[in-house]
C-alpha cells in the first residue's frame, strides 16, 4: 500500500464523514422550530460544504475547486445576511437604558434633556 493510496483513503473517509454531518444538518434545518434555527443550520451546512470542497480539491488534484470553495463561502455569507435583514423589523425598537434616551436618532444625556 503506497502513500498515495493512504492519502486517497483518508480524504475519502473524511469526505464521507462530512457527508453524514451535512445530512444531519439538513434534518436539523427541516425540524427547526423557528426561522433563525433554519438560517443557522444553513450557515453550518455551508461551512461543512466548503470544507468538503476543499478536501475534494486535494483528492481529485483539481486546484480550481479551491476557487469554488471561496465563491461558495461568499455566497453562503450573503445568503445568511440577506435572510437576516429580510426578517428584521424595518425600524427596531430603540433600546432604553436608564442613563440616557434616544432623541432624533442621537443619544442625548440627562444634561441635554434639561
Amino acid at each position: 500500500m503506497t502513500i498515495e493510496d493512504c492519502y486517497n483513503t483518508l480524504y475519502l473517509s473524511v469526505t464521507i464523514g462530512m457527508l453524514i454531518l451535512v445530512g444531519a444538518m439538513v434534518i436539523r434545518s427541516i425540524i427547526g422550530p423557528r426561522i433563525t434555527d433554519r438560517i443557522l443550520s444553513i450557515n453550518m451546512l455551508g461551512t461543512m460544504v466548503i470544507c468538503t470542497i476543499a478536501i475534494l480539491s486535494q483528492y481529485l488534484g483539481e486546484s480550481y475547486l479551491v476557487d469554488v470553495a471561496l465563491i461558495y463561502a461568499m455566497i453562503s455569507f450573503a445568503t445568511v445576511l440577506i435572510l437576516a435583514i429580510m426578517f428584521l423589523p424595518v425600524k427596531p425598537k430603540e433600546p432604553k437604558f436608564p442613563g440616557f434616551t434616544l432623541k432624533n436618532g442621537q443619544a442625548a444625556g440627562k444634561e441635554a434633556e434639561k
Binding site: I3, C6, Y7, L10, Y11, V14, G17, M18, L21, A24, M25, R28, R34, I35, T36, D37, I39, L40, S41, N43, M44, T47, M48, I50, C51, A54, I55, S57, Q58, S63, V66, D67, A69, L70, A73, M74, F77, V80, L81, A84, I85, F87, L88, P89, P92, K93, P95, K96, F97, P98, G99, K110
Partner: protein
Amino acid sequence: MIFEWIRFFIVAALLIAALISFASAVFGAYRFGFVMNRMHSAGIGDTLGIFFIVTALCIASGFNMDTLKLLLLIFFMWFTSPVSTHFLGQVEYYTNPDLSKHVQRIGGMLGDEKTEAELKKKPDKEAEDGAD
C-alpha cells in the same frame, strides 16, 4: 520516505480533529434547545473546524498557490462568521415573542411593559434626588 509518513500522520490527525469538531458542532445543534445556544456550537465548526481542515490541506499540498487561496478562505470565514451570528442574534432578539423564557437582559427586556415603566420611573427619581 519516513518524513512522508510523518506528514501523512500529521494530516490524518488534523483531519480527524476537524471531523470531531464538526461532529461536536452538530451534536450541539441537536442537544441545545435555543437558537442562541446553538450559535455557540455553530461557532466551533465555523472557526476551529475550518482551521484544522485548512491547516491539514496546507501541510498535505506544500507551499503553492492553493495554500494562499486556502489561507484567504480561512481569513474570510473567520471575519464573516461573527457577523452572520450577530445578525441572527439580532433577528432572534427582535422577533421572538417568548424571548424572556430563555434569556435575561440587564435592565429588563425590551417590550416588557412592567420593566419599561420601571425604567421610565428611575431617571426621574434620580433627577429629584439631584434637585434636593
